[in-house]
Symmetry: D2
Subunit: 359 residues, 4 copies
Amino acid sequence: MFDGVLARGRVARAVSDEAWLRAMLAAEAALARAQGLPEEVVEAIAGARLDPGELGERAAESGNPVVPLVEALRRLAGPDVHRGATSQDILDTAAMLVVAVALEPLGEDLAAAADAAARLAEEHRATPMIGRTLLQQAVPTTFGLKAAGWAAGLDAARGRLAAFRPAAQLGGPAGTLDGLGTDALARYAAALGLEEPVLPWHTDRTRIAELAGGLGAAAGAIAKPAGDVVLLAQTEVGEVREAAPGGSSSMPHKRNPVAAVSARACARQAPGLVATLLAAMEHEHERAAGAWHAEWAPLRALLVSTGSAAAWLRSCLEGLEVDAGRMHANLGDTPGVDGAVASAAALVDRALAARVQPS
Amino acid sequence: MFDGVLARGRVARAVSDEAWLRAMLAAEAALARAQGLPEEVVEAIAGARLDPGELGERAAESGNPVVPLVEALRRLAGPDVHRGATSQDILDTAAMLVVAVALEPLGEDLAAAADAAARLAEEHRATPMIGRTLLQQAVPTTFGLKAAGWAAGLDAARGRLAAFRPAAQLGGPAGTLDGLGTDALARYAAALGLEEPVLPWHTDRTRIAELAGGLGAAAGAIAKPAGDVVLLAQTEVGEVREAAPGGSSSMPHKRNPVAAVSARACARQAPGLVATLLAAMEHEHERAAGAWHAEWAPLRALLVSTGSAAAWLRSCLEGLEVDAGRMHANLGDTPGVDGAVASAAALVDRALAARVQPS
Amino acid sequence: MFDGVLARGRVARAVSDEAWLRAMLAAEAALARAQGLPEEVVEAIAGARLDPGELGERAAESGNPVVPLVEALRRLAGPDVHRGATSQDILDTAAMLVVAVALEPLGEDLAAAADAAARLAEEHRATPMIGRTLLQQAVPTTFGLKAAGWAAGLDAARGRLAAFRPAAQLGGPAGTLDGLGTDALARYAAALGLEEPVLPWHTDRTRIAELAGGLGAAAGAIAKPAGDVVLLAQTEVGEVREAAPGGSSSMPHKRNPVAAVSARACARQAPGLVATLLAAMEHEHERAAGAWHAEWAPLRALLVSTGSAAAWLRSCLEGLEVDAGRMHANLGDTPGVDGAVASAAALVDRALAARVQPS
Amino acid sequence: MFDGVLARGRVARAVSDEAWLRAMLAAEAALARAQGLPEEVVEAIAGARLDPGELGERAAESGNPVVPLVEALRRLAGPDVHRGATSQDILDTAAMLVVAVALEPLGEDLAAAADAAARLAEEHRATPMIGRTLLQQAVPTTFGLKAAGWAAGLDAARGRLAAFRPAAQLGGPAGTLDGLGTDALARYAAALGLEEPVLPWHTDRTRIAELAGGLGAAAGAIAKPAGDVVLLAQTEVGEVREAAPGGSSSMPHKRNPVAAVSARACARQAPGLVATLLAAMEHEHERAAGAWHAEWAPLRALLVSTGSAAAWLRSCLEGLEVDAGRMHANLGDTPGVDGAVASAAALVDRALAARVQPS
């Protein structure tokens, strides 16, 4: 009912139950291969057709979906499946695989939004407009500089997410690698295209925290331009307009900045979800009694929300219509325009030149 | 995949897309009746068969699912459907209907958990155990007093949720009731079994905040006994055991307190979601540019998580096995048992006598 | 450095170290009296002159400031001080005393802000203005109806806080009242003007959650009108103006709506602090190993922030200048003004009539 | 009253009002120098003696303490002080200077805690203990591996904080550098030892988000070992003991793990504060109407809490007494000890070898 607004774009599919199941099977298959099990076992695992809903339901018995998964796989492929591993090995690894896939469209939408902002910056590097502080008209700037600031925030956020290195998880019940060995860990990680950690990280959740922080920062970097578009699109300001504004159920003629509004709504999910993930970092002993399970929902929701926010902002900025005439009119006879425009335009040039790898 | 653990019980179904759609249709039908439209129009609305997934998808155009809903209903039942109303009238009213339904099983599970705790309190009013402060053994108490404390927290939380009064929403685009009238509002609210508000509350979200606060408190009241069960069930303590403990994928013989662990995991979703709802209270002007949309997901997730936590705790406490012998052994030769037991037992009696309407 | 902005009003003083110390002494004195200790002991406790900074420093040894407090009081008034009690008895009781005092100015500022909104509602019940949804001009309303909505939110929030009943805390180390007795509890609570709880609530934190939820709702109810004032005061909108707008360091001529801006800044502290308090509800066994200590700072900060937000909003609304001419101009030739104004004005009358106990 | 517990260590002083004032003066002095003002002006600024409390109070008029600061400095050093700058230039720069100073002791305490954990890891690389999952005894591990996991989390968190690059802020009222120029920005940043940003970042708060995320992750990395110590120190487990445990007001003989308990309490402040900072990223236009002011308190509180948590954990781990005999006893006749110990010890060696720059 709400996914059209709150789960736009391609991230939602990348974190679906089906995607999680595929990732869990990939982890079990890679483990089997790393342990030198026969190729037919590996293939039986990798090709298993299971129903995520049923696994989810049966997860209630043991508290996680890997227990019924392993039971099903052992029926299919023999008792050596999952040998020496623990549920969290598989689920954490699957989480990292899911994250890696989900960050691709998220990163693309962030990049596209930043590129759109950069194009606006370039085009309007010297388009004068009034600068507003505390929502009061202040001194002149250019629309290009405002857009360059949007791009800077989005680029910074994207850069941090791009630096995230998903790592494999393997350690066995107490994280000792007993019966597994570091060689198996190395092969397992390599087979999955994930980083090999120095230690199992069952209870060291700094990776999750880093990811959460990066997503939270991205959501905030998205909220900034989205908020500006909403404000600039106000009837009384009228300096920008979305390409596909929306009507309302009572006033079909309205031109609501739906993309910016929806981007804001999605972005606002992030801070609370980040807090949930950070608060869940205190894992007891060798594996936590609730804190780990507490990560699953907010991690997924944070990816979806931030991805949706990025997709909305991309739509918003790629089609943004800028009304330079209205900017000029709102500027009125504010003094100091020429100097401010020159200075702002130079800053825009500097910012655009500094952008790394414009995609 | 995770719903078996994180969406236990009956709340998830009560807040499903289907449930939301039914509630939205109920709101539109009540509005039509309140406006005196022909009964066939009312019935056409109430009986409409629509696809929530499709509405959700089309919601992306306008930013909310009521716009496509109204279009579909007008095709079915004529142009007078939704006359004078705004999307938020319908969606907020639907939210309150959904909440009212969802709070029933949630309240029942909370009550059942509290009752189970009260039964434990009664049975073990004088069962001595060591009291523990900062997780160090301190002075004696009884298991009954501990359980009475659980019941007290659960009862308090349930009482607050039971006092929540869902209210109808109706005001039209600017909340003036222009073209609607307070009589229609009264009939609309009455038809839906919702409270009639003094004013439309499109941008006064104190109701949502009250609900959020109540759910957050309930989650915390659940987390307390769940945490205690996890601690008491430790191998080294061994004073309680769940009736249906779970094994692990590597150690099938383990007796993990799955219900308590899962209750904790669910309860820990709440604080961040409450924060999201509180942070979304700043609605601009007559209807918000994002803050309203930002409520939908956390409200639903908060109901599901708290309801799931309650269902898990109910399972945990209804089947809890108490090992009075082990409690006695752990108490060792701690002095002062008799006086402490007498005092604790008296407190238990007082607490049980003070329980209102034991269900 | 930041208190002028973030700790306005009288709440900050009510929660100062000095205030906490006074409350702790009051609790110890009431306990001594409830236990029938000689009046000179009671007076020695009540009149003790201690340095909160020194107690705070010495608190590091035991983890809470009551331990050094009791040592100091026993030197002054003999070994019977604090007999049978535990640190948390005193500190929780002190917290409730501090809260009771702090809620007075907070409630007064909330009430005054609501009254100011109600006066604006009455005065402008029929002052037409454009209603704005998603920050786009929509259909007409009146400024009075907007202000009545502000009052409704503030009244609701105030009502919830006014319903909070601070309770005494007394139970001894394991909460059994062993060596204390329910009679002493009753006398203790009565002497302090606090509610007598059925059970000690050392680890049942639903009271704290209720308070936190009420403060969070109040902050949100404050943020709504503060946000509207900021938006209405925009240069391009110009429909309201604060009585004492502020300049900036670079543009002394600016008329920034400082009170509304500061109210927003204070109100935004609340959601995160509420989350911290809710997340701290899982207290282990008879007294928590960190969760209790984790409450002290956010409870104080939440009171100060919400109180400061209320004080700022009161200043903002009591002096708000409304520009009906500008409202009329912004309305332009929007159709349907007369009907909307009549309907809105009637709603204002209804809302004002429904206000309970206008202070 | 609570600072002994909640503001341990050296960070609190580094973020005091005095420290902020010094940083603001340093920023104004660096600006004056960058603009080529006479050295006596620079020195008059740098050496000004002002009262932060008075500035804070007067900040209420304009909404920030820079306005009265500049007025005072202009009286001292002439009208060219602060030329072309805006309040946020000075306050953001001061924040970065304060952060840079505060991160030093915080980093040192984190490093010392990690080093202590690493020493425990080395010493106990092959000390067998039972591994515990979901707080149930599971399979063997070594205490060294547990401690190595603590070190890994602390090292990761410290590494992220060490990578934070505080940047200067300079842009003038609308962030155009009009009347300032990029040369002045470069000189200003260099003089302060801060990074020169490509653009003014008045409304691009990704830097603040990065810092907040890093501090939140550090708090979580601290909470993990603190929680383990609390659990291991339980009377029934008894495998570790703090060097300076604390008594209670009623039971002076108790040996509470005060340092670990306090570390947890401090660490639990972080998630909510991080959420507040992330939620404040949506800055309107050229400077925000509340979101910026909303950062001041949580940024300071987050630094203090995380720093205090680090200082407590350092104390806890540096003096931790490990009871290998009790570990052996608790292990009982669990099978598979030898293999697990060998595997765990090898992992410890690998982890210690991988530590970068042990301090």
